[in-house]
Each structure stands twice: as C-alpha cells, then as structure tokens.
Subunit: 661 residues, 2 copies
C-alpha cells in the first residue's frame, strides 16, 4: 500500500522544499561541513537546539517530575568489561559486506533492500504503474535499471522479504544475495559474505593503553550499575524508576542523510524496576486505562499485514494484547507525551517487535513509530528487558543487584541440607574438592534423600559426578552431614524486572517538524511559504517583535517589550530589518514562532500593540501589559488562541493585510 505523505493541512509534502527551509533556517546542519562533513553527524542550529531543549524540558516534567523518577547522569565512556557483560561487545553489531573490487562497504540488509526495491520499481515501470519516490537513499540513483517485468510470484517473494528485512541474520542475507544474484551496480560484482560489524566506538581510557573502552550505545547500563545505590536512595521502596537524558553513540555502517540514522544522538531513557511477581501491576494504571492507542501487534505482522487497531490500553491489557499493566501504563504515557509536544496522532502507531527482531536483552518490545516521508520511523522503544541486565552484572561482579523485602508471611522451608566438614573434606578430595563441592551443592532433593538413607545405613553415600574419577564419588560421614531441616525465611530476595521506555530525541524532533509543516498560500495566489505550527510550549522562539518601520522612535518600545518578555522567561526575537512586515512574519512562520507583536505609530500614542497568531494570522490589539499577560498564558498552555481572542479586541488595521499576504 502506497501512502502519500501529507502536510498538517493535507497538502502533499514536498521534501525538497522542507529540507531547503530547514537548512536556510538552520534547524540543523551537517557537522564539519566546511571540512567536507562526516556522515551521520549533525549540529543543531539555534531553532533546532531550542526545539530540542523544549522537548527535553517537557519530557522531564511529564516523566521525571510527574512520577518522581530518580534522574541520573552517567558517563558516556564505558570500560570494555561492562559492555562485554551486557552482551554489547558480542552482539551489538550490524551485518556488513564489502565490494571486492572497489572496497565499498555496505550494510547487508540495506543492500538487499535496495536491490529488491529497485527490481520492483523497474517492474512497476514496465507495467506502467506509478513509482513511489524515496529520497532517503543516496545510492538509489546509481542503482537505477531499465524497466523489466517480473513474474507475479517473484514480486510476491520480494515483497515478503522486504516486509521482514529487519529480521534476517548475516547468514540469511548472504544466502539471499546469492539466491537473487544481487550485484553492486557500481562494479557489477557480488559483495562479500556479510560479517558482523560492532557498532560501538572504541577508545582507550588513561595514559597507559591497558584500559579499552567504548562510547555507550545506550544510557541504560549506567542506570543498571547504580541500581543498589538508587534503591537505597529510594529508601528501599519498590517499584521505582530511574531516568537519564544524554548522548549515545552508534558507529552506523551507512548513516542516512538527515536526523533519522545518525552516529551521535540524544536519548532519554527510563528504567522502571518492578517486582516480576504479581503480574507487574501499576498503581496509576487506572489513570490512563481509557487512553486509546493505535496498535500493530506481532501476530498481525507475522501474517504479513500492517492493519492497526485502535483500542483503549485498559482493554488491550485485559485482552493480553499488551502483556501487563506496567508496560501498558508506559505505552499510554508515551502516547500522551507525544500528543502534548504536537505529534500528529493520525501519523503514529505502536508496533510490537517480532521475536527475532528484538535486541539481545529484550523479551518484549513495542515501538512508537511516526509516519514520515521516509516511511514509519521508530522514535520510542518500550522494551521489557526482564531481569537480564541486573542478573548478568550481578553474576559478573558479585554485587547484590537485588531487592530484599520483608515477607508479610514468613516462608517455611523444609528440605534436605548438606553441610561440609571442611577440615576433612578438603584433604579427602584434594584437587577435586571444588568440583565435588559444586556437584554436592547442585544435587537435587531426591538425591539428597537417597544419600541420607545410604549414610544412615552404611555411614557412606555416593553421588555421580561425571568428570571425577570413575564418575562416582563416595563420601563418608566425617566429610559431610546430610539433614532434613526446617527453615523460616523472613526475607524475600528477588532481581527486579525492567520496563524501559527509550526515546530517540532527534527522531522525535524530526518527526515533529514534518508533522507540523504546511504551506501557506498553496490554494492559489502568490508564492507559497512554509509554516511550522509547533505548539507554543515547544516552539523554539515564542514571540517575534517587529517595529512597523526602521523609525528610531520605535526602538525603546521594542527593547522594553523584549526585556519584559525575558523577565517572564519567554524567548523572543526582534526583527527590525528593512524587509516588509509580511516578509518578516513569514520568515518567523518558518521558524515556527507562534506569536508576533507589532509596534506601530499608534503604540507611540496609546501604548497598545498588536498580537498576531501564526496559524490564523488573526491579530488582536490591546495595551502592552494585557498582551504580555495573554502571551504568558498562551506560552504556559493555560489558554489557547481562541480563549485569548475572546478576551481582547480584534485588530484589522493595515498591517493585517501585509501580514496575511
């Protein structure tokens, strides 16, 4: 199914126009561009940087403040051993292949995807069908091939492969390259067998070279390693969540142009630690149970479909579509956050990961995906990491990454226990002592019962220990003691499970831009101009201040207004350039500035100014102090434009004409 991506007002989205506007207004820009740039690295200019800060600020309020999460700031530099234990050294890799002729390095799944898409496109052309334009892949141009029609069954097979392209491992990708005879168009030869390429940036810590380290690929590990301290800070109370906002790094093999696949990116991650017993209930779940989400579950995808279902999260959890309340609670909270910052809810869905698509640490995962001009983009992952990370780090270091909880009802345990009488045990088994002890400790209750009986009858007992002697070890009653004992446990120990909502801020920011973009004047008339209709809380700059002309009488008024807004903590920008008012306003529509104040000759007489709304271009006029009050309410979200417009007189003077044009 081909989806045409539209703007906020339903116009077809022209990516070229949007990109040029974002570049011109310096939302973001390739890093080191005067040195030729580096793939996958982007700098945020003033509006992008401010947009990012506003998203982060709202995130902190929506999650950290609202839920009393324990925010931490851990280092990016991470020693080898930590990421070895977490599994990233061995498993955090993409499949890479190399062209044996020109040495070009390619991501294997991207290569297969591109080649099959090219063949499908050539087939479409041959059949006289429309080919969807995709602009995210640089290589596409050189890959173009003449129209060749494919057999129906081949088309279907290619489409099925593409639908599951994220699920293949290197071996499978390698087989497909051979099976479909996929050759690099640049050289005409087949690339090498895919090999894993670890995505972590490596470095060395300290002046001696013996401490290799990495730039973290996620902020999560620092939170896990601090679990015991965080639990202590939280006075031992469970459940609780930690949170972290910071940069992470992935050395992408083939970063895409733009913010969607970059090598350095800002993440905001929550690790919610919960008792795995009791169904992972959440005590605020009822507050969100009514929130309706658009879900695309695993089974639907497995059947090759992408049909979504809109369902209240309360019901989704009840039906078992979403595994538990805690996971469901966070899906709903993520939804509410994205709605708050201005994501278009008609371009959003939650997609469940398929089994072989999940990260090595996850046991379930739902992604919040946004529809953009490059298709559905994963912006937030919400994974159930179970007890994986805490367990592996505890095992490796011996640190008690667990919760000790007083049992309400003491637990009575009756079982066979084995005591070693060490002074005799060691000398008896010598070099085998450790292995024999381990086998004893691992013995089952049944075996122990049998051994106790043997011991009682013969003062000796045997146990099969494969690798020792002839495989049977004999114990006497001077080296071990076996007793049936009753024990009362007042404390329960458990390793918490982790639910992890993980936000890619750059991807959210880019989606937000596309979702709020539209073209003014495209219904005919003059040239069209871009507008970014960000909500005022999120907009990079809140207020544009313009004097009617360069008349110096306006200057003190302009300066005073700017200072008054700053005192209210409201970012503003003065545009006293010689451009027409209309032009100055439309320049700031491109920045997404929601409000504009004009100072004109009437201001000099009565102290009134006009206030313009970016989206409707309607204007109001009142005393400066009343306008400032209105701005404050609009920016903090306590009022919307309609409410303000009902309270202040409308203005239809000459500037309106100029501004609307």
């Amino acid at each position: 199914m081909t989806t045409i991506i539209t703007t906020l007002k339903g116009q077809p989205l022209d990516k070229v126009v949007l990109d040029s506007m974002l570049r011109r207004r310096m939302f973001y820009t390739p890093s080191f561009e005067i040195y030729g740039g580096v793939g996958g690295l982007y700098d945020y200019g003033p509006p992008g940087c401010s947009l990012q800060a506003n998203i982060v600020d709202l995130w902190r309020k929506h999650f950290v403040l609202e839920e009393n999460m324990l925010e931490v700031d851990c280092t990016v530099l991470t020693p080898h051993e930590v990421l070895k234990t977490s599994g990233h050294v061995d498993k955090f890799a993409d499949w890479m292949c190399k062209d044996p002729v020109n040495g070009e390095i390619m991501r294997a799944d991207h290569f297969v995807e591109l080649m099959l898409e090219t063949r499908l496109d050539a087939d479409k052309v041959a059949r006289g069908l429309k080919v969807e334009k995709k602009d995210d892949k640089k290589k596409r141009k050189e890959t173009k091939m003449p129209p060749i029609m494919l057999e129906e069954s081949v088309v279907k097979e290619y489409q099925e492969v593409l639908a599951r392209i994220d699920n293949y491992d290197g071996c499978e990708l390698g087989k497909m390259i051979k099976k479909y005879d996929l050759k690099n168009p640049a050289t005409g030869v087949m690339p090498s067998e895919p090999v894993p390429f670890n995505l972590m940036f490596q470095t060395k810590i300290g002046p001696s070279t013996n401490l290799p380290g990495y730039l973290r690929p996620e902020t999560a590990q620092g939170q896990f390693l601090n679990f015991a301290k965080l639990l202590d800070y939280n006075q031992g109370n469970m459940p609780f969540a930690s949170a972290s906002i910071g940069k992470s790094y992935r050395n992408e093999i083939s970063p895409r142009a733009g913010l969607l696949r970059v090598r350095e990116f800002l993440m905001a991650e929550i690790e919610h630690f919960v008792d795995p017993q009791g169904g992972k209930k959440h005590d605020r779940f009822q507050e969100v149970a009514h929130v309706e989400l658009v879900l695309l579950d695993r089974d639907t995808q497995l059947s090759g479909q992408t049909t979504t279902r809109k369902v209240a999260i309360g019901q989704a959890v009840q039906e078992g579509l979403v595994d538990n309340e805690t996971l469901g609670y966070f899906l709903a909270r993520i939804h509410l956050f994205l709605e708050k910052i201005g994501i278009d809810l008609t371009k959003m869905r939650f997609r469940q990961h398929m089994a072989n698509e999940m990260a090595h640490y996850a046991c379930d995962c739902w992604d919040a995906e946004m529809l953009t001009s490059t298709g559905w983009v994963e912006c937030v992952g919400c994974a159930d990491r179970s007890a994986y990370d805490l367990s592996v780090h505890a095992k490796k270091t011996g640190a008690p990454l667990l919760v000790r909880e007083r049992r309400e009802e003491p637990l009575v345990i009756e079982e066979w226990e084995i005591d070693l009488i060490r002074k005799n045990f060691g000398p008896l088994f010598k070099k085998d002592a450790k292995a024999v002890e381990a086998a004893l400790m691992a013995s089952s209750q049944e075996e122990r019962a049998r051994m106790a009986k043997q011991m009682q009858e013969t003062s000796k007992a045997t146990l099969e220990v494969p690798d020792i002697g002839n495989g049977t070890v004999e114990f006497n009653d001077e080296c071990i003691k076996i007793e049936f004992r009753k024990r009362v446990e007042n404390t329960r120990e458990y390793t918490p499970n982790v639910i992890e909502p993980s936000f890619g801020i750059g991807r959210i920011l880019y989606s937000l831009i596309e979702h709020n973009f539209w073209m003014r004047g495209s219904d005919g008339g003059d040239e069209t101009r871009g507008v970014l209709s960000f909500p005022p809380t999120i907009a990079p700059i809140k207020v544009l201040i313009v004097p009617l002309s360069s008349n110096s009488q306006f200057t003190p008024h302009i300066k005073k207004l700017s200072q008054q807004l700053r005192n209210l903590g409201i970012s503003n920008r003065i545009d006293d350039s010689s451009a027409s008012i209309g032009k100055r306003y439309s320049r700031n529509d491109e920045l997404g500035t929601p409000l504009g104040i004009t100072v004109d000759f009437q201001t000099l007489q009565d102290g009134t100014v006009t206030l313009r709304d970016r989206d409707t271009t309607d204007q109001l006029r009142a005393e400066a102090s009343k306008i400032l009050d209105a701005i404050k309410a609009l920016v903090d979200g306590s009022k919307n434009w309609d409410m303000v417009a009902s309270e202040l007189p409308k203005f239809e003077g000459q500037e309106v004409e100029i501004a609307i044009r």
Copy 2:
C-alpha cells in the same frame, strides 16, 4: 599564607564528613564502582543530577535568553583534521613521565609539586610548625618523609617554583627533577624525561578505518566552524554570541578523586564574536559597570604575591587592568551568575593568566576561581581567543569565516597593482611559476614602484626571489603589467575576535556544595548534622512532605499536596518512613531541601499545614493553598523567607521541638 577552609557558618570544614554525606545522599558516585571504578569518571545521582540541571537552566536564562545568544548543539565526535587545524593535535598535551622500575605514569608537574611540598612539610615539622592538611593527593601518604630542616634560601626557591608550577614546560620540569634530585618514593629512582601526552580520546569514525577522530576537548570548535551560518542566521548583525552546553573529554594522566579533575565533564561555553576595531566596546557595559570584582592580576602574580583587589569593573576597564569592555562585561556577568546560584563571594576571585600559562589559542584570560578545601579551583575561564580559531579554519578550508560590512565612508585606495599575463607567464617560468607569482604578489609598494620605473625605461624589471635561479628573476612586459590604480572599497572585510566565557559545570557544582555546607548543632548539644543551604531556585528538591506519623488518614492529603506541587512544576519528595520527623527533616537538610510541609492531626480538622524553613527551622502554619502560594514565590525567587514569614502566622506547636532538635 595558610587558609583554613570554613563552612558557610564559619566552622572548620571537615572534608571527611562532607564526602561521606555526599556519598550517602548520592550526589555523585564513582562510575562503574561495582566493576572497580575508572579514575576520573563519576556519575551524578538524583540530587547531583537535579542540581546540575538547575544550574544549567539558570545559566541558559542568565546568558542565552537574556542576551539572545544563538545556542547550538554540535557533535562531540570530531574528525582529526579539524583538531589538527585548531592546534589541539599538536599542543593539547600534558607532560608525562614514567618510573623506569615499576612503570608508574605520572604527570610531571604534579610530581614536582608533590615532592617539593613534601620537603617543605618535612622542613616545617622539623621547625615545629603546623603542617596544612591536604587531602586531594592520593600519593601523599606514601611520599611522607622524616623531618629535615632546609636552608632558608632553599625554602624560598621551592616556594617560588610552586607558585609558578603551572608555567613550566616539559624541558624545565625535567631539569628540576634532576636539579632537585627528585626520586619516586615508591621505587627510589628518578622518573624518565617528561614527554608530551595528548589529552584527547581517540576513536575511529565509520566502518573503514581511514577516518580517525577525537572526542572534543571543548565545545568551542563546533561553534567556530558554524560561524558563517550563524552570522547569516543573525541576519548579518554583529556583534553576536553563540553558546553551547555539552560534554567534553580530556584523558587526564592522573585524575584526582572527586569532581575537580575528571575525564568527562559538562561545559557551558559562550563564543562572543566582536569587531576587533574600535576597542571591543559593549553596548550593555554600563549596566554592569558598578559591579565589584575581586581581581588578582598578572603583574601581582609575577611579583610572587597573591594580593587581590576589589574594584568596580567600570574602573578596572578604565585603568586598563581589564583589557576592554567586552571582556569586562562578561567578567561581571559571570560574577552575577555565580552570585545568583549561591557561590560564596568571599571565596571567589578572578585571576589573570600569566603569559606562558595560557592555552595556545588565547591572548588574554581571566579565571573565576573558587576557594575550596583543595585550594583555589578554576571554575570559569574567560579568554580572549582573538581571531585565532576563525583564521586557522578559514585558511585551511577556504571558507569565508569573516564579516563583510558596508562601509559608511567608502575607502579610497591608491596603489601599485600587478597583473599577470597568464598565457605568457606560465610558459616563461614553468615549474617556478607558482613561487614566482607568490613572490610578486607579496612584493611591497616600494618594490612595485621601482619595478614600474624599470619597466617603463627598459621594458624589463627584476625582483629578488631567493630560491629561484640565481636569486633574481627578470620579467618582461609581455608577462606582467604594473600600474598605479585608484580603487574604491564600499565593503569592509574582517575576521571577528572571540571573547570566550567557558564554564566547567562540575567544578562549579562541587564548589557550590562546599560553599553552602555547614553543620547544625556544632555549638554543643547533640550530634551535629550536615546542612546544604542552596538557594531554593538551585536546590535539587524544593519541598519535603512529611506526615506526622504513618496514620493512613494523612495519605490523601500527602498525595494531593504532592500533585499540586507537581502541577506548579515544583519538585517534591514524600518521606512517610517511620523515622522521627526530626530525622526525616535532617535527612533532607543534607539534600539541601529548603522547605518542608508537615501534615498532622490539625490538618485533618482545618486543612492547615506547617511550612518549615531549612536554614532557621522556623515554621509557619496556614491553609494549604496559602502555603502553596508561599512556596511558589520562594521557589521562583520573588520572595524570601522573611517576606513570607511576615505574611503568615508563625507555628510553635509540638512538631517544632521535634524538628529543631
């Protein structure tokens, strides 16, 4: 002069007590501690992280918002070529020496410093004088030596070396090690000759290994590289400032324990671009001219003194003590910022760098230094980087990192100009053509006048070009033309100078903690307890909510208050543990929580609650809504405790007793 470091209330500061408190309350903690930790890497726990976020937030308001700075967010990953050009690859190094026996690696200046201080201490002990305790150097213990008296002249020489320890290069440090016979106490041998060790972390960008890169050592370079785009964004207006908040990295040879010398740290940097002509005036200088700063200038230090002088910045600039208004403006703004966040002004000074102490790019620099238990610590640098960075990057890349400005008065230039007649010039000089052309273009007006005369008289002219032929090159009138021409320039081109205030957030945060720390109850009575008297705007958590007891009737009140505070954006923490109210309050005094609300039985009857002030432990009592209004005013800084206390009734119920104890 020995200074005893005191707390906010003048008590001697007990570093051990403070450190233990910071650790217990998880302000910060060694990263990867369960893996044994890594030197110079620290994680911020919840209160440290929140403190950091509040400092950054205030920084953004004080600088970025107030001055309409252009904030950018550039990547940490930086390709080799950029840092080669900036000089960091060659010059950003410390001097390192190695013990040839045990392989220990030491920073050469630290080694010399430690050894001389140890000898001076031993001398003091021999003379029966008191030895200052320093706790920042791990090695100090093993360095201890028996009391030995030194000659007066030697004491003086050592002291002079120590006063200038930041100014020596590796060669000088090496000479001192030999001259003073400094041997590593661990092995009894002299360390090797100091060699430079580059402080940048190196990595590789991309899957092929041909793009070496570094983690940036400062955020500045990204701002310089984007200069042309930023100027354009600013509609060509000068002066303007960019700003950036982000992590930087320095692979310290011997990081100290604590936050003062770490390998990964948060910086906030401003690059203010200013026209070098016209004395670097600043149009808001008058707003700060009255601000008094404590200055320690270069000349005073050269004379071996540390006497400071308190002087209004207006006067300091007038006297030439501070070079120009822009530099002075920022020194004053830095002072005001540090005051606002709660730095103790009696423990702060601005120290001018000595000539050989400055970074390779700086031509003048003043540091804002804070007095802490480890001495004076540089927390903010304010450097004049002149046109260094923009010039080197422009030269390397050919990018126009400059300002083009319309001249008010066109500039008339009359001078000798040389035109090449290329079709003849090239064939005539062949392989020397480039060098000859360069020599011609570099020729002075005098030489050109002489050559023109020769040409007129003989149709030939000569110029000395050392490395070509016999050193004299002859030109005919078919290969060059020399004319005296008049030219009118309407545009002026210049490379801006840069004034750079650069903030080390971690160092500021640590100094702030020490400056706000004191011990309650140290005037006798019970055990003493730590308090952190942060200003409410900066405090990690604003309000503690405590129920009088665990009675479940209090729960709905507690929850409602917490929600109401969150709706106001005010962070709060409920402590419903079974500890006494006094204990719960003092736990939160340690976190620096400025306000506390108690819910008690009276609350159930009349809806009133008490509000406690951390610093005085005074309490007020009023309806919850009035208390919330008061909290809001205290947190946003519009009222202080005395103002609030004059408006609401004092409370002296039984809880006061418990709380004050």
